[in-house]
Amino acid sequence: MAAVRRRTGLLFWCALGWITLVLVLAIIAGVLPIPSPTDMDIFARRKGPSLAHLLGTDSLGRDVLARLIYGARISLSVGLLAPVIGLSIGGALGLLAGYFRGRFETFVTGGVDVVLAFPPLILAMAVTAYLGQSIVNLTLVLGFLGIPAFTRVARAATLTFSAREFVTAARALGAGHARIILKELLPNVALPLGAFFLLGVAVTIVVEGALSFLGLGVPPPAPSWGVMIGEGRESLEMAPALAFLPAVVMFLTVLSFNLVGDTLRALTDPRQGAL
């Protein structure tokens, strides 16, 4: 443990602390002594911080702190769930393509290229138009868009590890395909995939913010950080904090996920401990 602390540094623990704080607040938001994020107070619009509203109110008189915390709920659940879709489907496709090669691989890489060529904004608009604007639809769209990247990472890692002799050794022992994939390849491919997952979370939070900012994401009046930045834009001159606060929170969260991802990848690389 001491060795782990020496190799990570303060920044890693700050990042981990921030993620934990945001996660805990998002989970226990319902029992926190904060006003409802959707209650409007027309007579107290764009007010500065006060005892009743710790971070002030927005242009419709809603409590900014409450909206930030409930926004974390939405931003984080979309940010975590969408990459889970990408990870499970993309990871599985990449692993199988990298292991079996041949026609299946051609098919998968071709499919990935097609999805990558699809303009993401158009897809988001199309889905919103046909299926309606909802958090579930948003998550599905973002998850779908994440599949190609996870497929590529999984396939590249699988190709590297398949060429290693321990896989040949398992084949020589008579291990079946399932056993080789699950016991020999998956534990090795899981590492780069896990690190990429954290990066995916960071990217998804930003993309969710961008879509919500454009009005294609989370439907109002539900708060998400992107929605808040979008609404804050209208009163940038009068109350810059309304756009600035959610932007800072998003920035810190995304940065933290990236930092943790990078550090974990470096820490869990088995070769690191060799010397």
Partner: protein, 326 residues
């Protein structure tokens, strides 16, 4: 004054577990026109020693001691002077030509670039010299080969190109770091022949670094054996092979399978493995594996010295007896 003088050189590398002493107080000299073989197993520090001589250590490594080339201490001169000195006086051939050659540049470009930069010759002059060099190192149809990329050549041909590049600025010292380890035995013989021929005809000094006693036996004037960062025995080649004094050298020799022994002859293996370079034992590093060691050997590191004859140095308190000629 010798051409190359390495004096009490120490190389420390920081690792997550602590400081690793890769080279532990090495003294060496090499005269112009001579060949020194440096033999050691992996982790013996032989490669780090060569990097220290070339001033090519990893940035985080700590070097102390003196490395004098023609009397000039390379560790104490400004970077720019060092770069110029290094280019014209010391050249290196690495183990794997695939990684030491740039894959996206043609052989001609890589050959002529160094000559134009360091010798200040014109492009056409550099090209004609390059072609002559390729011919000299035994590359057929050198004119065409100038336009080839490294991946278009075989391993042996690539190593020949790497040698041609190393020779291009007429170095006084050539360091060959395991130049044939990545090659097949028939190609290895050709590359060793080539190095020996060039060394003789150019009157270069050569440092031949290898793990293979067979490689140094017939092709060096002097041999230094390294173990755990230190030179543990050093003597003229013939003297070393005929009168091994350091038990490690003798054990290494004995552990080699012999071509004249019948099949299934049991090899006298050296038990155990080299010490942890981060926590080395206080005494002789070979003592834990040595069949001649006793309590004295664990007390202090024996210095490399020549108790009886100046030409043969060894670092051992309990050396093997000198064989009396029958």
């Amino acid at each position: 004054m010798s051409m190359l003088e390495v004096e009490n050189t120490i190389v420390d590398l920081p690792t997550p577990r602590g400081m690793l002493r890769a080279v532990d107080g090495v003294d060496l000299t090499l005269e112009a026109g001579k060949t020194l073989g440096v033999v050691g197993e992996s982790g013996s520090g032989k490669t780090m020693l060569s990097r220290a001589i070339l001033q090519l250590l990893p940035r985080r490594a700590k070097l102390s001691g003196a490395i004098r080339f023609d009397g000039q201490d390379m560790t104490r001169i400004p970077a720019e002077t060092l770069r110029k000195l290094r280019a014209k006086s010391v050249a290196v051939v690495f183990q794997d030509p695939m990684t030491s050659l740039n894959p996206v540049l043609t052989i001609g470009t890589q050959l002529t670039e160094t000559m134009r930069e360091h010798l200040g010759v014109s492009q056409s002059e550099a090209i004609s010299r390059g072609i002559a060099l390729l011919a000299e190192v035994g590359i057929p149809s050198p004119e065409q080969r100038m336009g080839n990329y490294p991946h278009q050549l075989s391993g042996g041909m690539r190593q020949r190109v790497a040698i041609a590049i190393a020779l291009s600025c007429a170095p006084k010292l050539l360091i060959a770091d395991e130049p044939t380890t990545a090659l097949d035995v028939t190609v290895q013989a050709q590359i060793l022949d080539l190095l020996a021929r060039e060394q003789r005809s150019r009157h270069m000094a050569m440092m031949l670094i290898t793990h293979d006693l067979g490689v140094v036996a017939g092709r060096t004037d002097e041999v230094a054996v390294m173990y755990a960062g230190r030179v543990v025995e050093r003597a003229p080649t013939r003297e070393l092979f005929h009168h091994m004094r350091m038990p490690y050298t003798a054990a290494l020799m004995a552990a080699l399978p012999k071509l004249d022994a019948p099949p299934h002859t049991r090899l006298p293996a050296i038990g155990g493995r080299p010490p942890d370079p981060i926590n080395p034992p206080p005494g002789c590093s070979f003592a834990p594996r040595c069949s001649y060691a006793d309590a004295v050997c664990d007390k202090a590191k024996p210095p490399l010295s020549a108790p009886d004859r100046m030409a043969h140095q060894f670092a051992c308190i309990r050396p093997l007896p000198v064989k009396v000629a029958a």
